[in-house]
Amino acid sequence: MRGVLQVKLFKKISLVAVTSVMLVSSALVGAVSAAPSQLSGKITVNGSTALLPLTLQAAKEFQKLNPKVKVAASGKGSVTGPQAVKKGIADIGACDWDASMDVPGFKAFSGQVANKVAVIPFATVVNNNVKVTDLSTDQLKGIYSGKITNWKDVGGDNADIVVITRAFGSGTRVNYQSKALSGGDITKKEKNYKEVGSSGDMKTAVATTPNSIGYIDLVYVTSDLKAVKFNGVAASTDNVINGSYKIWAYGYYMTKGQPTGATKAFIEYVQSSKFQQSSLKKLKFIPIAAMK
């Protein structure tokens, strides 16, 4: 596949200046052989930024084992993953939900296979000045739909609640809405409401804005902000594994049909217990084997 594309490219642009470099690259990329020991080729991964640290780490280890394989990764948003796969821009589309099925806001991508690679726990976070330590599904629903606007209504100080949320379509938001708000709305408000573009921005915004509430991957929770309990259960890896904490989701690698060649080997590497039990755990994701 890639070999053909490379040839197509040769036809399309004949830049003399880069030919020598391209010859080297096509020698590396051109011949996609199926021999498992001598895997070669180029794998492009696009999609969810939340899965990017995992992909980059896996790519690094995988390239060490298979020096002839190049893994290029990029991230924009979850839905970019399966779309890039559909368009043929990427071989693997990282996505925070199973894109082969309908989810609120997005239609299913037919013909794509979802490969589970990790479990991602999420947490409700508040600024350190907020006294509340536990919020129920109904309270969260009230806060995000705009019905509850003051912390004193949920057991805190008399102060306005500042809602910070991810943009519509963010994988974190899709999962948080379906797991923590059980499908409830996140309503735009005129004041005390803002949207942020990434987990890092969410962390900074909640950490620096008094009386704010937001949600984020559990990995990013540090002493700068506070994770609150959900229906009385603390957000922790153990509680996700024992089934009491409900706000978590699988992270997926979407492929066009069943993966083959280097792509298949790469996904298998990510799913292997060697990677799952060491690097993936160190990155504070939860191995897929831990869930029943």
């Binding site: 924009k76 948003g77 979850s78 839905v79 970019t80 779309q83 559909k86 368009k87 806001g105 997005f106 239609k107 306005d160 500042v162 943009a167 519509f168 379509g169 963010s170 735009k188 408000k189 005129e190 004041k191 005390n192 409401y193 803002k194 949207e195 942020v196 573009g197 921005d201 900074t204 915004a205 620096t208 804005t209 008094p210 009386n211």
Partner: protein
Amino acid sequence: MGTPAQSFATKDELLTKPMGSNRFNRYARVHFSNKLFKFYALFSIFALCFVLGLVIFFIGKTALLTFQHVSVAEFFFSFDWTPEEGRFGAALFIINTLSLTALTLVIAVPISVGMAILIAEIAPTWFKNLVRPVLDLLVGIPSIVYGYLGLTVLIPFLREISGENLGDGLLAAALVLTLMILPTICRISDDAISAVPKKYRDAAYAMGSTRIQVIMKVILPAAGRGVVAAIIMGMTRAIGETMAVVMVIGNTAQLAKSFFSPTSVLTSNIVMQISNVDFDSPWNYALHMMAFLLLLISFALILFIRFLGRKGGDLT
């Protein structure tokens, strides 16, 4: 490039035989290079236009699909942007973009042009040599660093003085943008002001003008087109800036009612949403339409400023 070179070669052969050919040969070569250079310059400007054409083609192609799903009137005049429910009113972003640009220019132009005058006219040489490279440094600071500082330093400060809970909004964005376009406006106006011939100044001083009079009545009008160009460059950067604005503006699709209400402009909305939409959805088309609109708006603003510049400036 092949054909003119060849025609030159044949001419060259014809001319080598007779006496005095050396002179003639050189003459032909000089004229050929003269022609070639003009051709090259023309080629360059067309290459530039070609890039603009590419942008218009690639973005416009997708953008126009919007109107298969949304009526033109709704897109341009509705204030309701709820794409998840199929309502695509972009009017609020257009107005917000214009207000943000205006607010930014109101703050940035006096400061930047004032700095340029200080550097070019008033300050001693050592001061100039210090400030110029420092200003160039500012351009190189990545926009996300500005955004991050805006989020962690400026916004808490604004929150403090305004008593708001959040502090995000037009004012925060305009202040960050001011800092970002300051070097652009300042450096280009500085060059324009420095280029005003010394004789103008001498003439004005000889008439007994004070320095401020020389600056206001002679130098600024003489440097008018350069300063206008500088403002346009700054403004276009302000309109197109995304990564920093998105961190301090609040990203809420509503009309900005005050300096501190969280709001959204064309760029920030594009960058927030483009990564999270289906390629083949009206939503994506609408975002492309907004990118296209951004082009049209800056186009209109450029015309407007040129018009102002022609009325007030060009006394040369």
